[in-house]
């Protein structure tokens, strides 16, 4: 392959990227930039909150419990060597609040809800349900995309909080119930070292941004799918891969901004 071909390919993929970003932006703008319709919009939103949020709870809670437990066990083994096992509480809580809570929840959310959103929209497109909405003079962006977007944005931060809370409880199970750390000092040191602004607000900011990115990618991939089975399966994979990478990259940026100094 000649050099000029390589340059041409690079240029083409850059153009594709910009076109894709433009299409994704237009889609989101079309979905959310309008006056909210409370009477018609609320039932649609509640249904999606159930599908996207509530139905993801099991995987989030179970994962949170195990990750908290593993974190506490590994942490205990290290801390006990220095005789500082009393600090297990803040170690678990801060790891979860600052990093693992938002990031792992977003990754699990991308796999559970994101892929389901892409597949659902892809199926709607390939069975012409989106076209038929348009022909009924109903905007599919407002009817289908908007409630799913808002449901994702609302659900993920709440799921991240649940994940973190359950994780801390898992840490308590291992540290206090199993390894015999004093329950009073576990909780009191934890309380003293977790800060509202630095830890909890930052956790919420992170998971809110992850929610926007993951839901946006999932909806874009589904809405612009090549309408055949192969296209849907490719789009579902792309959703999980791209949103996971986006979450991890964005996490580094945010962490550098929040905790870099």
């Amino acid at each position: 392959m000649s050099l000029i071909d390589a340059v041409a390919r690079l240029g083409r993929s850059a153009i594709d990227l910009v076109v894709g970003l433009g299409k994704a932006g237009l889609m989101l703008w079309g979905a959310i930039a309008h006056r909210p319709r409370l009477r018609k919009g609320t039932p649609l939103l509640i249904k999606q909150l159930y599908v996207i949020g509530v139905q993801s709870m099991v995987i989030i809670i179970v994962s949170g419990l195990f990750i908290g437990m593993v974190l506490a066990l590994q942490g205990y083994n290290i801390l006990v060597g220095f005789g500082t096992e009393e600090s297990l509480g803040p170690m678990v809580a801060l790891s979860l609040l600052r990093e693992l809570g938002p990031v792992v929840t977003a990754l699990l959310f991308a796999g559970r809800a994101g892929s389901a959103l892409t597949a659902e929209l892809g199926l709607m497109k390939s069975t012409e349900q989106l076209s038929s909405l348009e022909m009924m003079a109903i905007d599919p962006l407002r009817q289908i995309v908007a409630p799913r977007f808002w449901a994702g944005v609302i659900s993920l931060p709440l799921l991240a909080l649940m994940f973190t809370a359950v994780g801390i409880y898992g840490g308590h199970l291992v540290g206090v119930e199993w390894k015999g750390i004093d329950s009073g000092s576990f909780w009191s040191i934890l309380q003293a070292s977790v800060e509202w602004r630095q830890d909890i607000v930052n956790c919420m900011i992170k998971s809110l941004l992850f929610a926007i990115v993951v839901t946006w990618i999932a909806l874009y991939r589904g809405y612009h799918v090549t309408p055949n089975p192969e296209g849907i399966s490719r789009a579902t994979t792309q959703t999980v891969v791209q949103s996971s990478l986006a979450v991890l990259a964005l996490d580094f940026l945010l962490t550098a901004m929040m905790f870099g100094q």
Partner: protein
Amino acid sequence: MTLTSKTLVEIQNMAFSRGERVIYEDVSLSIPQGKVTAIMGPSGIGKTTLLKLIGGQLTPDSGTVLFDGIDVHKCGRSELFALRKRMSMLFQSGALFTDMNVFDNVAFALREHSGLPEEIIRKIVLMKLEAVGLRGAAQLMPTELSGGMQRRAALARAIALEPEMILYDEPFAGQDPISMGVLVKLIRELSDALNLTSVVVSHDVAEVLGIADYVYVLADKRIIAHGTPEELRLAANPQLKQFIGGEPDGPVPFHYPAQDYKKELLSELD
């Protein structure tokens, strides 16, 4: 076609292409009000595309599509949506919403657009379902219906808002003889009873010639023939004769273009 009937849709010198591929070069046709107009042609000729162009889902490269005198592609979004409330489309797959039962599917557009109280919507939906013979299936989910029933349910949904025109995309494709007969009967009866303008896109020659008032035949990116079914049956155009008679070879060749047969057989592997 009587000359007195008004034209509802007028397509003038329309050209359309997807990327490099030219679909239409110069298509002009008119669809009379209250009649069944069929658009026939071989698979892959872009018949569904034509319906999407009429419905404003696609935009032609040049030429105009007028619906009741209004240029569909010069409309703003709200004007286009106002136009679409006057037309309806029956998709090939039925395109029923899979998360709703048959009743809610039919009621959907009414609830969105009519502003009628639920009690009246219920009555309208039951009447539409009765018309297609599916009142008893109102509570079933689309996945519980056979292909033919899905299309009938979609037809009930398409007539829910009492449109002036219905665009049928391959209504007979993949149907068994009984559902085919039911659909043919429904399309004809709806057209006559409600004075609906029907546009049927299809390649099922026998069914289409049986119900259409006027037929356009598309091939080679343009209209190669048009007329009443009787006129088309008598036409001399060899391409048209091949299509209507379903002959395997003719102007549209049986063989995909290839190099000389004998030469290829006798040639050695490189």
